[in-house]
């Protein structure tokens, strides 16, 4: 068996429907296809570049916004931690002062 020849025989070109061209033309005349030349020379290329530029601009803007938000969140966390330390220090100081103030009163009462 010659496999190549069998495949050529099996996959011969077949006759397309005779009205295929007419049906395609009817669809064209119904406005289903606008030729590329009607869109203006190079317009698709220009639109492609504009779309790419817009996507890049949006991506850059998004990245900048994300970076700013991250920085703000980090700054907020840092300030919050410093405030907690300050409150802790203040609390400890007040406790020591109160302790010292209460000592003379106890000794004079004896």
């Amino acid at each position: 068996m010659n496999m190549d020849q069998e495949l050529r025989d099996a996959l011969q070109r077949k006759q397309a429907p005779p009205d295929l061209a007419d049906r395609v033309l009817a669809r064209i005349n119904n406005g289903e296809a606008a030729p590329a030349s009607n869109r203006g020379p190079g317009s698709s290329g220009v639109f492609r570049w504009l779309a790419a530029a817009a996507v890049l601009a949006i991506a850059a803007g998004g990245a900048e916004t994300y970076y700013t938000q991250q920085q703000q969140a980090a700054e907020t966390a840092r300030v919050k931690q410093e405030l907690q330390v300050a409150l802790q220090i203040t609390n400890d100081t007040l406790a020591r002062v109160q302790s010292k103030l209460s000592q003379p009163a106890e000794s004079s009462g004896r």
Partner: protein, 209 residues
């Protein structure tokens, strides 16, 4: 009635009456045999619908057959061929020669077929409307064998099937197939080798060899 166009030839019945010069034809390039093609393309690009219709008739068997061998359904192949020619109309201004038209049509038809198969999972379907009518292919020695072989080709994965159809229907070289399908040449050769082996094995298991 279905008659197969010889490989690498155009549908001469579709051509307007023009002198046809003898070129140095490539056996796999339909356009190389007819130097009047650029005139037809130029007319079509200028908006001549009759010229565009003639352009369709020249290439419709090729596009329709690729779709039919891939999809195994005449209605689906007709729809796909129409879509391909509508897309051709949209892209006419970018095409420079009939050879360019042929390679563009093959590429677009191939990709659309693969997309269609993936979308419909067409491998599961075997439409009965693809069965050849008696006398369709006078060159086919064994109609039932050819039909069985077509069905076996239709069971190949879509990319392998496309490679086989382009190789044996369109007589394209592996380098041309690689270019049309945007596929490495070694992948094309691998698809061909494996597909032939699988088809041969399947035929042997059915007692054909």
């Amino acid at each position: 009635m279905v008659t197969a166009a010889p490989f690498g030839r155009t549908d001469t019945a579709a051509l307007p009456a023009r002198p046809v010069a003898v070129a140095a034809p490539s056996p796999h390039c339909a356009a190389a045999q007819d130097v009047s093609s650029p005139d037809l393309l130029t007319l079509a690009k200028a908006g001549d619908q009759a010229a565009f219709a003639a352009l369709i008739r020249r290439h419709q068997n090729m596009v329709f057959s690729v779709a039919l061998h891939m999809l195994r359904s005449r209605p689906a192949a007709e729809d796909l061929a129409q879509e391909v020619f509508l897309e051709l109309y949209r892209h006419l201004s970018r095409l420079e020669s009939d050879a360019h038209v042929v390679s563009w049509l093959r590429r677009v038809a191939s990709h659309r077929c693969i997309d269609e198969i993936r979308r419909r999972n067409h491998r599961q379907e075997f439409a009965t409307d693809t069965l050849p009518e008696p006398g369709h292919s006078p060159q086919t020695r064994d109609v039932f064998g050819a039909e069985r072989l077509q069905a076996m080709v239709a069971e190949l994965p879509e990319k392998a099937r496309m490679v086989v159809v382009l190789r044996y229907q369109e007589e394209m070289e592996p380098t041309e197939i690689a270019s049309a399908l945007s596929m490495p040449i070694n992948t094309v050769k691998s698809h061909l080798r494996r597909s032939i082996a699988a088809l041969r094995e399947s035929l042997m298991s059915r007692g054909r060899v």
